[in-house]
Subunit: 303 residues, 2 copies
């Protein structure tokens, strides 16, 4: 079938690795093809969850341990305890989120879970953070958004003169469901973004990671018909069979992923390529929304 | 079930209509509840399509006749001719688009369809447009984005000194599939956005409308496993039973919708409410992304 409305598909077709940088404009695929191993960071097994639905579909989640250490520790402990096994998808709200947890609200949490986790919604930006920050976008929405240590983030001045950083709610980011303040959630209830980035949630809730593969199993679920997209009937809630930490698996079974480093010239070239599309495109935008960068994350060769 | 991660649900609970404006901050629901009939614009029946899938699910599309008149005329003529009946959903790409059309590429187009439609990708902004434009966002991505005549739009200076306006690819916007330039598409192949707004498509393709109800029937479809999310097997392509113009239906059957006017104080108050969320929120953002305004569109009382 003629493919009307073509994207520039990723042509991994560079015939030879040139010693000099390739002439721009490049396609995003050409930038990826020109990267070397140093341009990629492996996802550590203790930061990788494998969530298996009752259907057998697998969803892979990278945990942002550096930005939400207490909530991530809770999540690792919940996974180690097998606590997530048998919970369900409870809410699917179109152009917003998929949320999962214990629908009965009666499963006791393991002892290892911190029930009073601090509000890991934002962090003080150090000089080092500011130096490493790759700005992608500026505007009245916020002074600076971009990427920090491989994560989509933003920072802004605070009233006390410090600079506040936060991870941001791009598509596929994973956060911790909570009730009203001062509840910060434990990690027992999680959600992911399945629509236009709901940036108004930034700084209001703990982002702890992102889905790196398999989100389609969640984004294609039927939407809940109750308020806020909650399912009204128990049988509508897709069951979750298990959530496992990759580091708890035998090494030979551990899935391996790598993320393009965002403190690299390759990343800057990738952002430029996303901002200046060619081919089918007539008028390149000349800029790119921070949540439309689509940072490359891929399966890696196992060690 | 305790509803962790509450949005401020829309409380249509104003006990009395106050003569004075309500004290801000208001919730989005409070702004809507305080509107009067003058704050809403009905969707004209000749600008409303009813697309019925083979499952019986109905999807309602408002056509942006003022911004893409030739393509919209084509689409009306295709609907009047029943040409869309029996076509299919051919592509579902996660965090991107759902696309539908004639998979066989052999259905002859009606005589009434202009096969050489001009590139209705952008328009010259008149003084009147500029005066009516409600700016929501400014930044390095583009000088101005916001709403114009009820549609999400952006404008920027052009090389020739004129100011160029364009509709923008927010979630649920509908556009015309095309091949390579200079093909502009006819309207026989359409797509809608089901992920983070792909703004790089703005000014490169004709946006012709938006889904005002029923998008869940498309956004929850299984994703295609072929390149770019195209389905690989014919049986995967959900059939479209019919697409009808509301104006061609008996008046008693015509569905009625209304859209909040974007040249109104109510709209400005709504944008402020979206930008300054309260209640469950701890730190209001103070601004809102143009594609996160979520302009109110609702069923209206039939005349």
């Amino acid at each position: 079938m003629k493919k009307l409305f073509l994207l520039t598909a990723a042509p991994l077709l560079l015939a030879a690795q040139a010693a000099e940088p390739l002439a721009e404009p490049l396609t995003p695929g050409e930038v990826i093809a020109a990267t070397t191993a140093d341009d990629w960071r492996p996802i550590a097994p203790e930061n990788l969850l494998v969530m298996t639905l009752g259907t057998g579909e697998e969803i892979y989640i990278e945990l942002a341990a550096i930005f939400a250490p207490v909530h991530v520790t809770n999540i690792r402990n919940l996974a180690r305890a097998g606590w997530y096994d048998g919970i369900s998808i409870n809410r699917v709200q179109d152009n917003y989120v998929v949320q999962w947890g214990d629908a009965s609200e009666r499963k006791p949490l393991p002892e290892t879970v911190d029930r009073s986790a601090p509000a890991e919604y934002e962090f003080a930006m150090t000089e080092s953070h500011i130096a490493d920050f790759e700005t992608v976008q500026q505007g009245n929405y916020e002074p600076y958004s971009g990427y920090l240590e491989g994560w989509p983030a933003a920072h802004a001045p605070r009233e006390d003169g410090q600079r506040s950083g936060t991870l941001i709610h791009c598509y596929g980011m994973v956060g911790v469901g909570r009730g009203d303040n001062p509840d910060t959630g434990t990690g027992a209830e999680l959600y992911t973004v399945i629509g236009h980035a709901p940036r108004h949630l930034d700084r209001n809730i703990a982002l702890v990671g992102r889905i790196v593969e398999g989100i389609e199993a969640l984004s294609s679920l039927p939407r809940g018909t109750g308020p806020l997209g909650f399912y009204e009937e128990a049988e509508q809630r897709a069951p979750i069979a298990s959530v496992r930490l990759a580091s708890e698996m035998p090494k030979a079974e551990q899935p391996a992923f790598e993320v393009m480093r965002t403190d690299s010239e390759a990343f800057r070239a990738f952002v430029r390529a996303r901002a200046n599309r060619t081919g089918w495109f007539i008028r390149p935008a000349g800029a790119v929304d921070v949540c439309n960068v689509n940072l490359p994350i891929r399966r890696a060769e196992a060690d």
